[in-house]
Subunit: 412 residues, 2 copies
């Protein structure tokens, strides 16, 4: 019974892959005709590449899941609309999983709205502050449904805190803020670890594969079966359409994915994390993104001057990527800025060239540049592979933390 639904989901996902692989090249020219293109900056010819292709595979994802909607809910012979009285009379099953049905619909609603907002962002190039607001808007339906159906805002405390605050703590509205923030985090975390061919899709592939691995481990352990099945139902089609996109987006990119894809991917992860009740584990799978975010903070929040693009610098002679740098006057920095660079310098996490007159050259603070800083100039294709390799390492680390170490903090 469990596996029937998974098999149908897998078949639909495979169908989605086949359709996406055909649609993308078909629509390339359409995107070019309508000037939905972006320049590929790390290439000799800086060719214009069709942009926002994420919207196309996002639609395929939605259609796959639309067709899947009835599958888990009709194979069980439930009677969704029996009243209490009728059920007692006829002795029928009334355990139609209304809440699961609602969860699937609201997940799709939040994801669809995020896609729409992402595509709008691609078309109109919204400002940064909108990028923080949009995922929160798309999360509203999910939060509302959570409020109506569960409104559980109690969290279990780690063992070492229980003597102070007890076994669990009701954090009330903070729980909703946490869920909203998770969506903002997931969407933007993918969006800022980007800029070289294939990286947005590459990292999303590994995150979704990691989630699937985790879901299957939990399923095999018999933990929270419904929640992990739900996650698989969304992650398999996501992996399938992302693989189709990867085929065209990997080095050398024939299409770009757009903010639409980053939003779509991030939102899908956030939704399965929340509704699958494994948001803490999910965050562990975002380790490279968290590192990139932390490393970026000095520039993102303008403690250090931040150029418009922080992409690596392309050297057309060697066809290799070098770190990109930013120049500024040391006296521009305020107290906090000075403190940050001092710490980063002493930990050897940044390059730092200072002229006698106080002019400074340092690398842009992104994980991509940091990899180049450690390993020296490399080819774009290799750079994406290195970052994807790091993402895989982090998944292994995440599973180590999740399984053996979690016992120290929680009873599992």
């Amino acid at each position: 019974m469990i596996y029937n639904c998974l098999i149908i989901n897998g078949l639909l996902s495979a169908g989605g892959y086949v359709i996406a692989v055909r649609l993308i090249p078909g629509f390339r020219q359409k995107f070019i005709d309508k000037n939905r293109v972006g320049k590929d900056l790390c290439k000799k010819n800086k060719k214009e590449i069709p942009e926002s292709m994420g919207v196309l595979i996002g639609l395929v994802f939605l259609v796959v899941l639309f067709l899947f909607i009835p599958v888990p809910f009709t194979l069980g012979n439930y009677s969704p609309l029996l009243t209490l009285g009728e059920a007692i009379k006829t002795g029928s099953k009334t355990t139609f999983p209304h809440e699961k049905f609602v969860e699937l619909l609201v997940a799709l609603l939040s994801i669809a709205v995020m896609m729409l907002l992402g595509f709008i962002d691609d078309i109109f190039d919204l400002r940064w502050r909108y990028k923080l607001v949009l995922p929160s808007i798309a999360m509203i339906p999910l939060l509302m449904v959570y409020a109506v159906y569960y409104n559980l805002t109690t969290i279990i405390m780690p063992k070492f805190l229980r003597t102070f605050v007890g076994y669990s703590l009701d954090i009330g509205a903070l729980y909703y803020i946490y869920m909203g923030m998770l969506a903002v985090f997931c969407t933007n975390a993918i969006n800022i670890l980007a800029g070289i061919n294939g990286l947005e899709v590459g990292q999303s592939l590994i995150i979704s594969a990691s989630i699937l691995l985790f879901n299957f481990i939990e399923l095999s352990l018999g933990h929270q079966v419904d929640a992990h099945k739900f996650s698989i139902y969304l992650m398999l089609p996501f992996l399938a359409v992302s693989l189709a996109l990867w085929k065209f987006n990997k080095y050398p990119s024939q299409v770009f994915v757009g903010d639409t894809f980053c939003y779509f991917a991030g939102m899908t992860f956030a939704v399965v994390g929340i509704l699958g009740h494994f948001s803490k584990t999910l965050i562990l799978f975002f380790l490279p993104q968290i590192i990139n975010f932390l490393y970026s903070i000095p520039q993102l929040f303008k403690f250090i001057p931040c150029p418009r693009h922080r992409l690596p610098k392309y050297d057309s002679k060697s066809d290799l990527l070098h770190i990109s740098t930013t120049d500024f006057d040391k006296n521009e920095l305020n107290m906090l800025g000075r403190l940050m660079v001092t710490v980063l310098k002493s930990l050897k996490l940044i390059t730092w060239q200072e002229k006698p007159d106080g002019k400074v050259t340092t690398n842009n603070f992104t994980l991509i540049n940091f990899v180049l800083l450690v390993f020296g100039p490399v080819h774009e294709k290799i750079l994406t592979q290195m970052l994807m390799g790091f993402q895989i390492l982090c998944t292994v680390l995440a599973l180590i933390i999740r399984y053996p170490l979690a016992n120290y903090f929680y009873d599992t």
Copy 2:
């Protein structure tokens, strides 16, 4: 209790209006900067006007309804997740209206997906055949939910047919095709009765006001209270954001609405018609659109040559609109084409000028041109008002058909 929810919905809708009215002028420049503009063809200066503004008010509509989600479902003190056993033990209400909750979510899902597809159509200018497919895609979730929850495909027969086919007839899959077609019809019907300032929004305002009037009449009669409340929940916010759009889209247009709006409006109507169980009455409210469609058939299906634009012709001297015409050789027409023009000519529904060599000039077959044919050249603003007046007349006719005459066909 009924009225509490309606009042909150009304307040949220009013908030939506206020926000939409502020957002539209704020985003005009953004649309112009990104070249999301269209030419206003019926003006002296043919100015470029921001296009696809429907996506903005569509988003406001969605947010209003997202915030409304919990309202009808928490004011009633339902306990959605009690199991049968717990309910018997505690004697609690288990009559949480799961199906209503699901209906609201799936309605929003279908509408949101339609908006996304509409915006994609605006950006990429998809071909006509896609315009027929896209609404069907957006309808899938609704059809799937219908299949899981109800799967009722039996229709009540009009009295005069009952002696032949019985009181009711199960039409099976045809019922799903009917629902899918309804979405295709509603979205495209509004999309093809368009082209002069304010007409798309104007007709949608009157249709939504007609639906609301009908819902309130039914509520006051105590008929299908839940279904009509549901319809009001969607129609009030729709009317509010459309009024905001009307403020800027009416003659002389400061913004255009785009296919996004036509799709959004049509889908919202189709969804309330289906889930509110009044799809036949809904179709009556589309009388002008049906007339326009029937009149357009000879050109839409290429029995008569069809130019790319069928807009009225603007005369800059008088500032009036005249009928637009199309020229062709009479011998080009096939049998069916000849039959059609013969019928239309004899009913005096078209102009027809024939030269001795067989060259023909006739008006384009649209309701807009027909109004000009009857009343002579008029100003664009007046033309929109005349068509809106006709829409109101049709609503009156629809209510006469629905109420007194329905008794002859059904037991009401």
